[in-house]
């Protein structure tokens, strides 16, 4: 229903640059997640779209309407956006009905229409029987739903969600995740969702924008980002990963840190490389590519989280609990590799992985 076009948006607070040249388009009906560590600029981006911050440079269009840029600045109340805040921001002096009805009351909508609209959205968020309650009589999850209903009641084209689930407990968070996704699919609205939780991002998004230090590191579907990360940071941020320094030559990568053991490699890179391996892509086998000594293992039920010493390095191997065999610490073991990623060793790994706050 709405597209958001970010045209060279940048934002700095004094000396401190928070967003650098943000240049993207969110398509109609897409579920977009801005993902990144805290302080990466994702919330600032969301607040710029909402109109709570003015970008230092660039233009912002919602549909084809210029809402921010040059001398134009449309204040938040005139952007026709719905937004859910991290702290819910449910007004404690109004009951649920009044909270949800507020956007319509402001628009001076007819009474009967308010009544039916509010009932409809309360139905969507499963709060119909709570209309008369005050926020302090509701649980965190229910307040969350009130905030969502309020954001939806005026049928916005664009819904912004700022870490809406971070104050909920783990179980509730998981169920709300699917509910939000369900509502979005039903109403077909464009959603911009901010979170630092990768699982949330993976589960809900059509596209993820992974941001660090004010710069989009990669954008793509969850699968793209997980399977073909654009750089070490992305690989590290999404999922678990270990980095190994190696040397690529003659269809092989040699790891000096690991007794010069080698793995076959037919990729384009040569010379010094960094190999990123996800522990769940390793497995124990009779004749694998690397051999080492099993040092420790943590049995976690569903998986077995093991550390294998290979040369100077400890290699983390996560095998399914189902495959769990009675392994003994200290025994020689051979590791097979399903998949790995190879990056150029630019010597900046440490710096790249550092999270800016």
């Amino acid at each position: 229903m709405a597209t958001v076009t970010l045209n060279h948006i940048s934002k700095s607070f004094g000396e401190n640059t928070v967003l650098k040249d943000f240049n993207e388009t969110f398509r109609d009906g897409e579920f977009i997640t801005l993902l990144g560590p805290s302080g990466c600029g994702k919330t600032t981006m969301l607040r710029i779209i909402a109109g709570f911050e003015k970008p230092t440079g660039g233009e912002l269009y919602i549909d084809d309407r210029l809402v921010s840029g040059g001398k134009t600045f449309v204040p938040p109340e005139k952007r026709g956006i719905g937004m859910v805040f991290q702290s819910y921001a449910v007004w404690p002096h109004m009951n649920v009905f009044d909270n949800v009805a507020y956007p319509l009351t402001i628009k001076k909508t007819a009474r009967t229409e308010i009544q039916s609209s509010v009932e409809r959205v309360l139905g969507i968020v499963h709060l119909s029987q709570y209309a008369g309650r005050f926020p302090n009589q509701l649980s965190g999850g229910q307040q969350q739903r009130v905030a969502l209903a309020r954001a939806l009641v005026a049928a916005p084209k664009l819904l912004l969600l700022d870490e809406p689930l971070s104050n909920l407990d783990a179980k509730l968070r998981e169920s709300m995740r699917f509910e939000i996704k369900e509502i979005q699919r039903e109403l077909g609205i464009t959603v911009v969702y901010v979170t630092h939780d990768q699982t949330e991002a993976m589960a809900m998004s059509d596209r993820i924008f992974l941001i660090n230090r004010g710069v989009v590191q990669q954008c793509g579907t969850p699968q793209e980002i997980y399977n073909s990360p654009a750089n070490q940071f992305v690989a590290d941020f999404l999922g678990k990963v270990d980095f190994f320094k190696g040397e690529a030559r003659d269809g092989q990568i040699v790891f000096p840190e690991m007794n010069n053991q080698k793995i076959p490699y037919n990729g384009p890179r040569t010379g010094k490389v960094e190999v990123a391996i996800r522990p769940e892509n390793l497995f124990f086998t009779e004749n694998g590519m690397l051999t080492g000594t099993l040092e420790t293992q943590y049995y976690l039920g569903d998986v077995d989280d093991c550390r294998v010493r290979v040369g100077d390095r400890l290699v983390r191997v996560i095998v399914s609990g189902y495959e769990f065999k009675n392994l003994k610490n200290g025994q020689q073991i051979s590791i097979g590799i399903r998949d790995f990623m190879v990056f150029e060793d630019n010597g900046l790994l440490e710096e790249m992985l550092q999270i800016q706050t």
Binding site: A50, F52, P75, S87, P92, Y102, N136, Q143, R150, N167
Partner: protein, 831 residues
């Protein structure tokens, strides 16, 4: 083996503890009984110390030499208690004499008058005479007559009339004898005689008739009779211990009561605790409770009892007088009107200011915030002085400008500060920061996304203010408003400087005037004080209820910088408006104080070379009185702050780190003390601390230090408590687990972490004590004058430019102290 021994010991303890408690209660009761018997014995000896002192005074003929001799030979035989009573009586007489002598100096008066034009001369003279009457009672001495002669013949009758009117207003019945006598006199003499007669009858204790007073004088004029009285006391041939109790009977009773009460309180606490194991922390609680019991609760209770039993039998006469005398009724009305209006205007000003400064892109909003908070620490009387200079109907700078601007005649006006609206204006300009600070703090704590949610829902910034911000702020708004109400109703500095000369009486100024009148006045003062206290207690209670009921706790998200509302085209006009407000309320008053301090002629602008002088500064800071008052203020405030902060730290420890039973009792008392209007605290202390209850600290520095502590200790306590609450107990536990002792933990971990708050707490007690006026006015003695009172005296009796020099000096010092506080606590605290 060892464990069984301890186990047995524990089983023994409850019985032993109970026995000890009962014994302590009995000991206290015995002390009370003996003290009571001692008092009977003492009274039956028929000695009246006051009468005796008056006698000594009569013998020596003049008060000052009597005082300087201290009457050592005669009084040496007396007990400490008696001597204190004597000193007090002597002191009262001396003060009266001194005031008269001082103000009676015609030369000084003429010098002052020469500076003024005809209009202001009249006003000044009137003020002089009226204040003379207020301070020393309606005693028109020969010196005062000289002052009256300085008034042109044509106006003299007006003065007499107004003075007599003032006397009559007090509701004193003139003794018929005096009236007859006065009837034979004429004119000026008659006036003086009437007032003199009234004074004498009024001043004599317990409503004795004029005849009795005369007899008393005659009888004690006889030296033999008098010495006989002393001998009677000295020759009591009894045991040493009994003698001690007889001469300190009241102290004995009081000590007994306190000991018994302590033991009872401890019993109650232990009963609740059930283990009957004595905890050392109870001693701390009892010590603080005892202090507050003696110096805070006892005076308050005594005052209430006295109000209902004015002459040892139940009567509502005291309260009837409150509204049957027009002047009193006026004072009540004025107080209520002024406080309500100040509350209204203060809050109406404070909310938009807090919003503009906290939530919009107003230019210089941080600067303005600091500026408005700064007003909070300016002594209110300094502001009153400034506004008096600006809005005096005759010579007020603003009035002169307006007259010049509109070409009005030189008639007084158009604005008159000596009026109820004038007082409300000054009160508002000094108490709106109370509401501003309360609202600003609440606004800072409020989750800004509540407002943002409204904006994104389509509401404009203004609409958001009314639908979200204001309703959310309502509890704080109400509590801020009530705070302003109580502060304005309890204020003495502003009404005394602005109201009194304009005859706009308030409850506080009436209380102080009544106290100056002595015995009869005391009853009225008590009634007024009970009224004021009830008002304050009810309002503070209401405020608590409001806050408790409607305190919205919001889930705080990450600390987002609140969205700043863009004022757009209103940005410049609103900034101009706020600047204008700041200029009017803060800059101009301070500027006028500074300007006046350099003036020779207060009526003329300072910019002319012939009107500019540094003499005022030199004179005022060259005076011994000034330097003494600064020394006194520094010492009293420092002592009050130091003891206060020790109590505050102890309380914080008890409240935050222990679960000890009864820790809330001193907390409650300290809170009550800070909520009690200053004038009421001081009055209570005056009534109970002059030996009549076994403690005599009247006219000493102690009484003032205690008063400051009672009023301001809570500020220190709250600061330290909130700092302690933020240090998680695990930090201390971790230190103890690491092997550090309790003391080491306190010194190495808790101490350094809380230190900024302790320093802040110290200053929060020190600064208001430093410039205190309301309590000081009632409690000072000639040797314990503080800067606040000294300034008030200079302002009323000496010269305005000189006072302004001193006021600005005080202002600079307060700003400097605040700066020190700010640096010491790394910017975390300032008033």
């Amino acid at each position: 083996m060892k464990s069984t021994v301890t186990g047995q010991k524990r089983n023994m303890t409850p019985a032993l503890t109970k026995a000890v408690l009962v014994m302590v209660v009995l000991f206290g009761a015995a002390l009370v009984f003996m003290g009571w018997r001692g008092m009977q014995e003492y009274n039956s000896s028929g000695f009246s110390s006051e009468a005796a002192y008056r006698a000594i005074y009569q013998l020596h003929g003049d008060v000052e030499s009597a005082w300087s001799m201290k009457l050592e030979p005669q009084t040496a035989v007396l007990s400490e208690q008696d001597r204190a009573l004597l000193d007090q009586t002597a002191y009262e007489l001396l003060t009266a004499a001194w005031e008269n002598q001082k103000k009676g100096s015609t030369e000084k008066l003429n010098a002052i008058l020469a500076e003024e034009d005809a209009e202001s001369r009249r006003e000044l003279l009137h003020k002089l005479l009226y204040t003379t009457y207020l301070v020393s009672g309606p005693k028109v001495s020969t010196a005062n007559k000289k002052e009256i002669t300085a008034i042109p013949e044509s106006e003299r009758d007006d003065f007499r009339l107004s003075l007599l009117q003032a006397v009559m207003d007090e509701g004193a019945a003139l003794p018929t004898a005096a009236e007859k006598l006065a009837g034979r006199l004429s004119g000026q003499e008659r006036q003086a005689a009437l007032i003199q007669a009234w004074f004498v009858s009024n001043d004599a204790a317990d409503g004795k008739t004029t005849e009795q007073v005369n007899t008393l004088k005659k009888s004690v004029r006889n030296k033999e009779t008098q010495l006989e009285a002393f001998r009677m006391i000295a020759q009591g041939e009894v045991s040493w211990g009994w003698q001690l109790i007889v001469s300190n009977s009241r102290t004995a009773i009081l000590t007994g009561i306190v000991i018994a009460l302590d033991a009872l309180l401890l019993t109650i606490l232990m009963m609740g605790d059930r283990t009957w194991i004595f905890d050392f922390k109870w001693i701390l609680i009892l010590l603080i409770v005892d202090f507050l019991l003696l110096f805070q609760l006892m005076p308050l209770i005594f005052m209430i009892v006295k109000a209902f039993f004015p002459n040892s039998s139940f009567s509502l006469e005291t309260f009837r007088r409150l509204y049957t005398y027009p002047l009193n009724l006026d004072a009540l009305k004025n107080t209520l009107i002024a406080a309500t209006a100040t509350m209204f205007f203060g809050t109406v000003l404070a909310f938009p200011l807090a919003w503009l400064v906290g939530r919009t892109n107003l230019y210089g909003r941080k600067f303005f915030r600091g500026l408005f908070v700064l007003t909070y620490m300016v002594p209110p009387y300094v502001g009153a002085m400034a506004w008096l200079r600006l809005l005096n109907p005759n010579v007020g700078t603003i009035n002169q400008w307006i007259r010049m601007l509109f070409g009005l005649s030189n008639a007084p006006g158009p604005l008159n500060i000596y009026s109820l609206p004038g007082m409300i204006w000054v009160l508002t300009s000094f108490y709106y920061p109370y509401a501003f600070i309360t609202i600003s703090r609440a606004m800072e704590k409020m989750d800004p996304s509540l407002e943002e949610a409204s904006r994104i829902s389509g509401a404009s910034p203004l609409k958001t203010v009314f639908t979200v911000t204001l309703p959310m702020m309502l509890p704080s708004l109400i509590s801020g408003a009530l705070l302003v109400f109580v502060a304005a109703a309890s204020c003495y500095g502003i009404p005394s400087i602005i109201g009194s000369p304009g005859r706009v009486h308030t409850v506080t100024t009436r209380i102080v005037e009544y106290v100056a009148l002595g015995q009869q006045g005391m009853n009225d003062a008590t009634g007024m004080a009970v009224f004021l206290m009830s008002l304050a207690v009810i309002i503070l209670f209401l405020s608590d209820v409001v806050l408790a009921k409607r305190q919205y706790i919001t889930v705080s998200g990450k600390s987002v910088q609140p969205a700043i509302v863009d004022l757009r085209r209103w940005r410049v006009p609103l900034t101009v408006l706020v600047t204008l407000f700041a200029v009017i309320v803060i800059v101009i008053p301070f500027a006028v104080i500074l300007a006046t301090s350099f003036k020779i002629d207060v009526g003329k602008p300072v910019f002319r070379a012939e009107n500019f002088t540094l003499t005022n500064w030199k004179t005022v800071f060259g005076r011994v009185e000034t330097l003494n008052s600064f020394r006194n203020s520094l010492i009293f405030a420092a002592v009050a702050a130091t003891i206060g902060i020790v109590v505050a730290c102890t309380m914080s420890y008890l409240l935050q780190r222990t679960q000890i039973r009864g820790r809330k009792i001193p907390d409650f008392l300290i809170t009550l003390g800070s909520g009690t209007p200053s004038v009421v605290i001081a009055l209570g202390l005056i009534m109970t601390m002059k030996g009549n209850f076994g403690i005599n600290i009247y006219n000493t520095a102690y009484i003032m230090i205690i008063a400051y502590m009672i009023k301001y200790m809570m500020m220190g306590m709250r600061t330290v408590v909130s700092a302690m609450s933020q240090i998680h107990v695990s930090l201390e536990e971790c230190s103890q687990v690491s092997g550090a002792s309790w003391l080491r933990t306190m010194l190495r971990i808790t101490g350094p972490l809380v230190f900024p708050s302790i320093a802040a707490g110290w200053f929060l007690i020190f600064i208001p004590s430093f410039y205190e006026l309301s309590m000081t006015t009632l409690l000072y003695s000639s040797t314990t004058k503080t800067i606040g009172f000294q300034l008030y005296e200079y302002w009323t009796f000496t010269s305005q430019p000189m006072s302004c020099a001193m006021a600005f000096g005080i202002l600079l010092m307060v700003v400097f102290l605040n700066y020190v506080l700010n640096r010491l606590t790394r910017g975390e605290f300032s008033i």
